[in-house]
Amino acid sequence: MTSRKVLLIFLACVVLVFPTFAQELRGTGDLGLIVERAKGSIQLIDTTKHTLLQRVEGLGDTSHASAVFSRDTRYAYVFGRDGGLTKVDLLTGKIVKRVLQSGNSIGGAISQDGRFIAAANYVPGGVKIFDSETLEQVADIPAYSDATQALSRVVGLEDSFGNRFAFSLFDAGEIWLADLSEDPRHPKLTQYKNIGNQPYDALVTPDGRWYVAGLYGEDGMAVLDLWHPEKGVRRVLREYGRGEQKLPVYKMPHLETWAASGNLVFIPGVGRHEVVLVDISTWQLVGRIPVAGQPVFVMSDPTGRRLWVNFAFPDYDTVQVIDVESRSIIHTLKPGKAVLHMEFTPRGEQVWISVRDANRVDIYDTTTFKKLGELPVDAPSGIFFSARANRFGL
């Protein structure tokens, strides 16, 4: 063997073996990602060490991107505004697969058994279901409404038990339930008509039982009991805010699975600068807490004791913390212009906050409100931690 050959073989060994040795074994339970909304990229992060691990590029239009996680919490599925669905390996930072599944998408969900990814689309309106392993399309559900004789934009796509997905038709005012438990290629559809004007987003409670859609076009909300879907959709809170002048809404609020604690769900008022408390057992309004602006996210920390609230333009430099028991604001933070999202670590000891114009993500201690650190991230928006894999509706 020539020395040249020996050298080549040696080099090949180094190239093949080195990566395995260079990266120590690690878990994924404390990993996550932050969306860089203007760059088409995400940052992978470590919530134990408070570090940026790596930027992953080439995800298309990430301006309203969101993510769900595989049930082994190794992979993230990122839904881009441009209809891109990208599967990213959290450990290697590689894009495993990417498909352009629609023209304009708004988010998605993963089935209870982790086998299917569902994407909610504006253009063309509907839901598409993909195999989570291969991203091969399994089913296509056009949101064609007989009432409007057109495809409707889909919002509020949530997963629940029994491998079901629930979603709302913004233009048609309908809620649909797609059941994949028998034949994933032909989901069984249940359609609820006339559920209210312009459902804009929805949540499911952490137990997966209640699907709650917020209405933009009229007062109140639409509620579906997933234990008893045969009972139909119920309208609740129809009297809330009736006759009151609405304030302009410069950014649509979001409804979050995180906004539930004990028997209560917390809903952003629409056109009203308040957080609304609703008792799940009766679906009655039990409180209204005035806040600094139009709430966008109302998120209960994982202990359910406190709510963290951020706001729409022009109050988006502010975050307020509400104590659930006393229903009062106990802290106000000013992280800076354009707080777009907040995410709690799995047991809630920290909260990570994205501050878009400062190109920064701030990390706070949720008990003392002390800032623990900050990370440079380009125009950060959504923050998603891998522990979401183990919860419904995120």
Binding site: A38, D61, H64, P248, Y250, K251, F313, A338, R356
Partner: protein, 107 residues
């Protein structure tokens, strides 16, 4: 009595539009570019290709009169999610934005 007062108004408006837009300081134009991409982008998309709000590309707006678009931006559209921006955008700002949207919005 002046004949056709509305004609004068229209003419004035027609002349005022491009002039106003040109007159906006470059710094303000840059601010507005960012503002539209970011704040309007929440609903219309960062690339303004539409989302909950309609598409605001030059192609999508080409047959719409500037006056209507200006009024929509300043006062919003009742019954839809489009809010009025008059408290935050002056008339000159709004005219510049519409002019820029119709030409194809800058990056």
């Amino acid at each position: 009595m002046k004949p056709y007062p509305w004609l004068t108004t229209l003419l004035l408006l027609g002349c005022a539009l491009p002039v106003q837009a040109e007159n906006l300081p470059v710094a303000r134009q840059q601010e507005l570019t960012r503002f539209v991409r970011q704040e309007c982008g929440f609903c219309h998309g960062l690339r303004l290709t539409g989302g909950l709000g309609s598409s605001l590309t030059a192609e999508a707006l080409k047959d719409k009169p500037a006056e209507t678009l200006i009024a929509t931006i300043r006062y919003g559209r009742t019954g839809t999610a489009m809010p009025g921006w008059a408290p935050y955008l002056s008339e000159a700002d709004t005219e510049w934005i519409v002019d820029a949207l119709l030409k194809g919005f800058p990056e």
